[in-house]
C-alpha cells in the first residue's frame, strides 16, 4: 500500500533528515514511528502525503509514484486519499467547526446539501457535532483535536497520518484518541502515527513500531 524505496531527504546542503530509508506498510495496518525529536518522523509523513519530494528514492502509494506527481495531481491525491492530523491541529481558529471540517472540499464546489451531510457525518462520528457552529478558537484543546480528526476524515481517506497526536493532550484525552484510532483501524484505514508518547508502544492493535534515529532505521 505504502512503499518507501531507498528514500533520502536532505534539507539545504547537508541536513540529512532521512538517509536511505526503505519501508513497506500494508493496507489496514497501524504503524507507529518512534524516535527522538529531529529523528525524521515528520519528514516521513510529509513524503507519504506528497507535501515534499524525496531528494533520492521513491515514494509509492497504491502503485502511484507520489514523489513524481505534479502539484495539481498531488493535491487531489491528498484530498482523496490522505487525512492528516497535525500536531498543532492546523485549524483556522476564526472559522466555525463546520467550515474547518469542510475546508478540504471548498474547491470542489459541491451542492450545499451534500456538504452539510458530509460535515454532519464526520462531526457525529467524532462526537463534536454539538459544537458545529462554534468558532474553533473557542474550543478546548481536546475538542480542537476532534475537529482536526473530523477534517482528516471528511473524504473517507484510505490513509491517516498523525503527527504527535497526543503531544498537547492530557492522559484522559490521549486515551480517547487511542480509542478513535482503534475505531479507524477497524474500518480498515492504514494509519501512520509519528510519536514519542510511550502510550502507543504497548497497544495491542499496533501492527508495527518503527524506530528512527538520525534519519535512519534502527
Amino acid at each position: 500500500m505504502i512503499k518507501l524505496k531507498n528514500v533520502s531527504k536532505i534539507y539545504g546542503k547537508n541536513i540529512k533528515a532521512l538517509q536511505d530509508i526503505s519501508l513497506e506498510f500494508g493496507e489496514g495496518e497501524l504503524i507507529v514511528l518512534k524516535g527522538v525529536s529531529g529523528s525524521g518522523k515528520s519528514t516521513i509523513l510529509s513524503l507519504i502525503a506528497g507535501l515534499s519530494k524525496p531528494t533520492m528514492g521513491e515514494v509509492i502509494v497504491d502503485g502511484k509514484k507520489i514523489s513524481k506527481l505534479p502539484d495539481h495531481f498531488a493535491a487531489s491525491y491528498r484530498r482523496d486519499n490522505i487525512g492528516i492530523v497535525f500536531q498543532k491541529y492546523n485549524l483556522i481558529p476564526e472559522l466555525s467547526v463546520e467550515e474547518n471540517v469542510l475546508l478540504p472540499l471548498f474547491p470542489l464546489n459541491l451542492p450545499r446539501e451534500l456538504m452539510r451531510q458530509k460535515a454532519k457525518r464526520v462531526l457525529e462520528m467524532f462526537s463534536i457535532a454539538h459544537k458545529s457552529s462554534l468558532m474553533v478558537r473557542n474550543l478546548s484543546g481536546g475538542e480542537q483535536q476532534r475537529v482536526a480528526i473530523a477534517r482528516a476524515n471528511i473524504n473517507d481517506p484510505k490513509i491517516i497520518l498523525a503527527d504527535e497526536p497526543t503531544a498537547n493532550l492530557d492522559e484522559k484525552l490521549s486515551c480517547e484518541f487511542i480509542e478513535i484510532l482503534r475505531e479507524l483501524k477497524s474500518k480498515n484505514r492504514t494509519i501512520v502515527v509519528a510519536t514519542h508518547d510511550p502510550l502507543f508502544f504497548e497497544l495491542d492493535f499496533v501492527d508495527r513500531v518503527i524506530n528512527l534515529e538520525h534519519g535512519k532505521l534502527l
Binding site: 507535501l51 515534499s52 472559522l95 467550515e99 472540499l105
Partner: protein
Amino acid sequence: MNKINFYLLEYAYSYILRHKNKNIFIVTVFTLLVALLATLFFVTSSLRYELKERIANQSDIIIQNYKAGMPAAIDVSVLDKLLEIEGVTAGKLEVQGKYYFRPKESTFYLLGVDAFEMQDDPVVAKLLEQYELSDSEMLVSKNVQDIMNQAYYKEYFNFIKPDGSLHKVSIKASFDVGERVELKNLIIMSKDTLREIFGYSADEGSDIALSVANKNELEFISSKIRLLLPNAKVTSKDDLLLEYEKLFDYDSGVFLSLFVIALFTFFIIIYDKANGLSSEEKREIGILKAIGWCVEDVLHAKFYEATLLSFFSFTLGLGIAFVYVFVFKAPLLGAIFTHENMLEIHNFQLNIHIELSYILLIFLLSVPVYIAATLIPSWRVATLDADEVMR
C-alpha cells in the same frame, strides 16, 4: 474557473475580515486614491461639458480694443468696417464689463441692453419682455441684491465712475438665475446708463460681437480682422474652446500633492504585498495545500479576496467622489481649479456628466494592479513545498 465558487468566495470574505486592521488600511488608501482621481475627472468632465454649452451660446467672434496693452473702449465706426467683411452676417456693439465692489469684495457683471436689439441669452430676453427699463433703473440678480443689501443699498446703488463721481441707479427688480450659476452676479441696465458708468461716449462700447454664416470660416475671418485692426484682441469661439481645454492641464499643486501621497501609499501596499506574506499567512496556505488544495485553488481564493477588496474600494471611492462633486457640489475644491482665468468651480452647476473612459482609466490603474500584487506573492508561497506545516 468559469463558475463562481461560493465556498471560496465566502472563505475569501472571511479572510478579509480576519485580517481586519490591515485590510481597513488598504481599503482606506485605495478608496481615497480612487475618490481623488474620480473627483478630478468628474469635475473636469462636468466643467468641460458646461463650458462647451456656454460657448455655444456666445457670439462667433468678439473684438475688443486695446490701447497701450490695456482694454479700452471700441468705437461704433469699427463695426461698420467689420460688417463689410465677407461672411460676416451680423454684428453689434456691446456694452458690458466687470465692476468690482470693494466693500463686499464682490465683482458684479454689468450688461448693457437695448430694448430694440435681439437678446442671445434667453434669461435676459425673458427679463426684458417682463420689465421696461428706464435710464435710471436696473435689474439685479438675487445674489447681487443680497450683497447690496448687506452694504445697506436697498432701493438704489451708487456706482463710482472713472472720474470718481457717483452715479445712482435704482433697483427696479431682482431676478432668479435658477440653474444658470454663471449669471449669479449679473446686473442689467440700459446701454446708455452703462456707458455713463464706464465713462464711454455715446459711440463707444466695450466690445463688438459678430455672427458668421459659415462656422468653418471662423479662423479665416478672425485673421482678416486681426490684419484690419492691429490693436484689437480678436477671440473666436474656437479660441475659447482651446483656451478652456488648457484649463484642464491640472497644474495645481494641491491636487498634485494629494495625488502623489495617495499613489505613494498605494505603492507601499503593493510593495508590502509583493515583498511576501507574513509567516501566519504562509502557514495558512500550507494548511490548505496539506488538506488537498492545489496551487490553482489557493490562487482562486486569493483572486476572490483581491477582487472583493478592490471592487469594494473602487466602488466606494467612486461613490464618494460622485456624492462629493454632484450632490454637495465639490465644497472646498474651488481653490484647486482656480486658474489665472478665474475659472471658479462654484460658478458652475456641476451637473452629472461623466466620461466613462476616465472611469475605465482609474479602474485599470488600480484594480488589476492590486489583484496582481495579491496573487503574485501567494503564488510564490503556494508553489513551495508545504511540509512547513508538519513542523
